[in-house]
Symmetry: C2
Subunit: 444 residues, 2 copies
Amino acid sequence: MTRRMVVIGGDAAGMSAASAARRLDADLEIVAFERGPRTSYAACGIPYVVSGDIDDVDRLVARTPEQFRTRFSIEVHTHHEVRGIDTAAGAIEVHDLEGGGSRIVGFDELVIATGARPIRPPMPGIDLPFVQGVQTLDDAALLTALATGADRPRVVVVGGGYIGIEMAEAFVRRGLATTVVDAAPTVMRTMDADMAELVEQALRDHGVEVRTGADVVGFEPGRVVLGDGHLDADLVILGIGVQPNAELAADAGISTGHRGAVSVDDHQRTSADHVWAAGDCAESHHRVLGRPVHVALGTVANRQGRVAGVNVGGGDARFPGVVGTAITRVVDTEIARTGLSESEATEAGFEISVGRIDSTTRAGYFPGATPMTVKVVADRGSGRVLGGQIVGGPGAGKRVDVLATAITAELTLDDMVNLDLAYAPPFSSVWDPVVVAARAALRG
Amino acid sequence: MTRRMVVIGGDAAGMSAASAARRLDADLEIVAFERGPRTSYAACGIPYVVSGDIDDVDRLVARTPEQFRTRFSIEVHTHHEVRGIDTAAGAIEVHDLEGGGSRIVGFDELVIATGARPIRPPMPGIDLPFVQGVQTLDDAALLTALATGADRPRVVVVGGGYIGIEMAEAFVRRGLATTVVDAAPTVMRTMDADMAELVEQALRDHGVEVRTGADVVGFEPGRVVLGDGHLDADLVILGIGVQPNAELAADAGISTGHRGAVSVDDHQRTSADHVWAAGDCAESHHRVLGRPVHVALGTVANRQGRVAGVNVGGGDARFPGVVGTAITRVVDTEIARTGLSESEATEAGFEISVGRIDSTTRAGYFPGATPMTVKVVADRGSGRVLGGQIVGGPGAGKRVDVLATAITAELTLDDMVNLDLAYAPPFSSVWDPVVVAARAALRG
């Protein structure tokens, strides 16, 4: 009898799982249910649609339902919402959002890939129409229309994390008055304050107003209410993080963990037999902290989805976890981090040494050389590299991958100092800035 | 009694050694002898002076003799050539090239940092004045004058390695008719033929004529003589590699090895007590091959020099070796390699698996995304990563550092596939090209 794989969620994790399973098992029946109108879109591209870098929102769609059907024999039902999972019976209840009516669909293997949603804290006015999350391509289209329309809205972005600063860049580049509000003393709390200050400076240099240490307590038409005043706003963007869409799994008795995300093992198995989870709804193992965390990133979603799909398809794949790498930019300032920040490492109980240096993206004498600051955090006793942060001009950000690789390989500062990294004047100073930071940490 | 450190050679390795020793030992007498007029210049910047990227040759000078004297109490004698070493007596014979006359200078510790020189094969016409090597800042000034002068010389570059293609780029960007001639079937023989072809294509796209499989047998006024014809040329650039300036050491009975370079241990000790060597004149340990090689690169010179200096200064530093990382560009095409190429690995006795993929430097839908080809070579049995090569648009080249780090850490393809590398649409596709290449090697 044909086995049936059911996938809940038609985005990165779900469709990666479906595709990976198909590659290994040509006979598997694969059915995916997606609440929205689209499959497999690059949500991380949304800010760049709003900014105008990408001129058509449809360019973010990697594959359409038709492509999945014809190329991979994967049946995708859009506008279908799964409302219940019966793990014992091996069945889900799915509701047709357009045609109406519900039906029960049996599964042999189930992949939960329900994603995450922007956090909307329960405060007065949060449901006013001018308070927007950034999640779907419909959001992208709406925000682009607002950014380019005649009304020239004053924009307040609540939260100075990745999505917050990317959206702030988008609106300010469209010429709109844009303010980022963050309750913390600095933006980008995944970085240490000394590095986050460089990010704030970049935002200000490009015309974004930054208000840190400012508590948002509610929204009223035309304004954001702060603990000690208010900000005029015609459009509010929520950038205070996401929460996993894990209620469906939790209601089915499946275990959840960090921030409510679905608990999974390194094969993406949940606590229920034949039920897998992947992507923004699921936990990830943090390889430095040695415990589960919730990381909602496209890379992780794709990788976890693939692992779940390989395992469903009869293979044996493992997701060993994340080290917490992330990158973004503010116009021409690149911002990247990996592993543990100084404060995270201290909080996790490490005794640390830290190196922080200023260098340049190219040889100092080479045209186009721009400032680049690198910070390396290491375990004081063993010298093991725990984390790194980079803020700098074009070419600076992706160098964080050297640190991500070093952390994964459990290299020490001594190992780092002796890395044979690529040098030519258009690409680096002769002592690579990452190596110089490691050497500073060795002394520090 | 004050100990005296004598350094032969005032460039990267020698002055790194002098500076490192000074940091550890304030009382050490440090004397350096340099044959030429300058200290510590970035020879790797010379092509970019000729191209016009860098407008003043003096920008390549990191520190002048005066700066060494006043800031570090390091006495540098330029225009002084060391002509003999007496290891038993602990003395050198030095000749004053300007003032004339020789003298004997005793040392407690000696660092040999005599560099390398362009290979000039003994063929007819090699000493004709229009046949130029690229080594000193005087060469840079002369070549820049020729590149920008009214005579518009036809340029033939002999050898399509790093210096050859960098010089070809420089001349062609100055609008001169430029040909690269290489005896091998492709240029860039440190890369595999399939990757070198991409380099050739980039050269051709920018107007450089490429003649491979062409034997240069001599030079006549106005032309380069080939085995089967000739090429008109008003200026010939030798780019067929360098040979270590190791005769001085060899004449003193100091051991030499690969390609005649001075043999050193991991502390940069030579075979003679209290005599150290560093930089382009010395060998390096290759961490993948497990044997000494001769690598003439600025990064290695700086690192070896520092290690020698720390050890002379009373510290304990070690140079664990190189993995063979190098990077260059042809205008906007970046070219990088690390570890062993497919052919080097096979030659070294490895049974290999290879992955080669085409991807893009940014998310495919993001403006400015350019093609990027990555090749990964691994040991078939263990999966250990042995090497990697990258050719691609802006942002492609420095990603080779991930592979260099992985090789140093002895990561396997499985480890590579699970690396948590930085992703955002302006920086990468969601599956990093390096990871995709590793996955291809896993299948290959």
